[in-house]
Amino acid sequence: MYPENFRYTKEHEWVRVDGDTGTIGITDHAQQELGDIVYVDMPKPGTRVEQGGTLGSVESVKAVSDIYAPVSGEVSEVNPALAEAPEKLNADPHGDAWLVRIKLGAPAEVAKLMSAAEYQAYIGAEK
């Protein structure tokens, strides 16, 4: 369920690192908790974000939730598919429905995030 090559945050975001780029999304657990997602608000490419700072927000029928940046850096790409079809976040949160790509500002940060096993233990305890 939770890919081994991702790293995870306590706020239920994931990041997958390819070279100097991090692809960021929300976890399957997050989409389940949010329920049907109706709107995704992400910053424009070029925006600088800090680890733990607000990246954007996701709106479901239940609530609007902030999404926090799992790593620092500069937004290089925003997933264009989510503007028209936010429901993809419910269907494929770990794949096609990634949120943004970030050019990593501090690659060492990634190591501080949780592994798949640690994240699964974390959400198990949260329940």
Binding site: D36, V38, Y39, E59, V61, K62, A63, P86, E87
Partner: protein, 492 residues
């Protein structure tokens, strides 16, 4: 068993646009007895339309029945209990409506000269004084239009004071049990928000505060009692931690219904707070608004309050606009005056002992509900609760039934739903605030309804999952409504 309501017929009603037929009117004007004027000449041709497309034309009886029929589809506080947690949907006493409609008040104009507005100004001055006494604060502004507007005003006051001291600072701390509007207010005032996790008891964690409060923190925004309905018992120590670093304590006073006449925020270290007159002080709420959100402050913040300020000039009241440090106006004229009149009438009708009884009864009602429902619903934070109680749907969720389903089933029982999925600190929250104005009979019916639904979840979960069944419209497709909203009626 459903005892409070039974099905009855209610008329279907189309939109007025759809009822319209050309030439129908709901009025009859006398023949013109002065020379006709060409409006294009008087107003300019560009300002005059020959016709308004789609303008509904109906007769008087059609217009009257239209709105009367729609009103029968409604739910209102005059119809039954409205247990929305955090909203304080108490009864709006009719005498307050009578007072606000007195000719001299209802017809007062904000441009009336001061000499002809002394009565209205006296009402505002007395209300300011009463609210200062109730909260234990030094000065009050009545301008802000409602709670979130008042939060913004309060944070701007704090910012102005800190700027005057040389550094506005950058961060505002907000506990995870605070009202949802607090972070937005802080951000609009130019601050970064830092969330403060609660301790396992659901209250402020002093160790966390000790660690994160520094010279960069402008204020802590705390809701007290918090959204779990729990009193922040360490509030005095929290204020000391903040004050020691030059930071301020802002209190969201939306839950003042649990403190009024018993405890005063000014006595437990609060520097600024707002009140919701449309909650604690019984003025109409929601569709019957507008609201009013006075902000009360300690002396240090008083010079920054919005202008104009009321001041005593000899034996008369006057408006003072010449206040150099003021953050300026936050609202046209003097706030929502009609609401202020109702709130003062409420305060004077109750008096001090009466307001204290309001608080005691509000807390009693919430605890009665808690006690009766605790065997049937999970109570995640067992700390003593004040004016509201928050259950979780964790027992029902095991059968696939969530708080939203239970709320919708409650409609079938003749009640407005409670607050759903808030506060966020409780997973699957059922947040219930009865207020003091419900009697035992209505409370018992509400409790019986929820117990009955809890049993249905065990015996027939599908009945709850697909509720409501007895309403004009059954469960709506919230997802499509949010993803593809239709915001405007258009002819087919």
């Amino acid at each position: 068993m459903i005892t409070k309501v039974r099905p009855h017929l209610s008329p279907n009603e189309r939109l007025l646009f759809e009822r319209s037929s050309p030439g129908k009117t709901a009025y009859q004007l006398p023949e013109l007895d002065v020379p006709a004027v060409d409006p294009r000449g008087a107003l300019g041709a560009e300002n005059v339309r020959a016709s308004i497309e789609g303008f509904p034309e109906v007769s008087e009886v059609e217009a009257l029945r239209h709105f009367t029929r729609l009103s029968t589809w409604n739910y209102a506080i005059d119809y039954g209990m409205y247990p929305l947690g955090s909203c304080t949907m108490k009864y709006n006493p009719r005498v307050n409506e009578l007072v606000a409609r007195l000719d001299g008040l209802a017809w007062a104009h904000p441009y009336q000269p001061e000499a002809l507005a002394q009565g209205a100004m006296e009402i505002m001055a007395r209300l300011e004084a009463a609210l200062a006494e109730i909260t234990g604060m030094d000065a009050v502004t009545l301008q802000p239009a409602a709670g979130a507007h008042a939060e913004l005003t309060g944070i701007l006051l704090i910012r102005a004071l800190l700027e005057k001291r040389g550094n506005p600072r950058r961060r505002i701390l907000i506990p995870d049990s605070a009202h949802g509007t607090n972070p937005a207010s802080a951000v609009i005032a130019g601050y970064a928000v830092e969330h403060v996790p609660s301790n396992p008891g659901g209250t402020l964690d002093l160790e966390v505060l000790h660690r994160i409060v520094d010279q960069d923190v402008a204020a802590l925004m705390v809701t007290n009692p918090n959204t779990l309905g729990v009193f922040e018992h360490d509030i005095i120590q929290a204020a000391e931690i903040l004050h020691a670093k030059g930071a301020l304590l802002y209190m969201d006073g939306a839950n003042m219904n649990a403190l009024m006449g018993i405890a005063r925020p000014g006595d437990f270290g609060v520097d600024a707070l707002h009140l919701n007159l449309h909650k604690t002080f019984s003025t109409p709420h929601g569709g019957g608004g507008p609201g009013a959100g006075p902000v009360a402050v300690k002396k240090a913040l008083e010079p920054f309050l919005p202008t104009p300020r009321l001041k005593r000039s000899g034996k008369k009241w006057a408006w003072d606009d010449k206040r150099k440090l003021s953050i300026g106006r936050v609202r046209a004229f003097y706030g929502n005056f009609g609401v202020l009149v109702r709130a003062l009438a409420y305060i004077l009708a109750h008096g001090g002992p009466g307001l204290r009884n309001v608080t005691l009864d509000a807390v009693l009602n919430a605890n009665y509900i808690r006690h009766q429902l605790e065997p049937h619903f999970d109570l995640p934070y067992p700390a003593p609760n004040m004016h509201e109680v928050v259950f979780s749907d964790s027992r029902q969720a095991k059968r696939g039934i969530h708080t939203g389903d239970i709320a919708k089933r409650l409609i079938d029982y003749g009640f407005h739903p409670y607050t759903v999925s808030f506060p966020l600190i409780v997973h699957g929250a059922l947040m219930i605030e009865p207020t003091e104005t419900e009697g035992k009979h209505e409370l018992d019916q509400f409790i019986d309804a929820l117990i009955s639904i809890a049993k249905e979840v065990e015996t027939d979960p599908e009945l709850v999952r697909t509720a409501p069944h007895g309403t004009r419209t059954t469960r709506v497709d919230e997802v499509t409504a949010a993803r593809k909203p239709v915001l405007r009626w258009k002819p087919e």
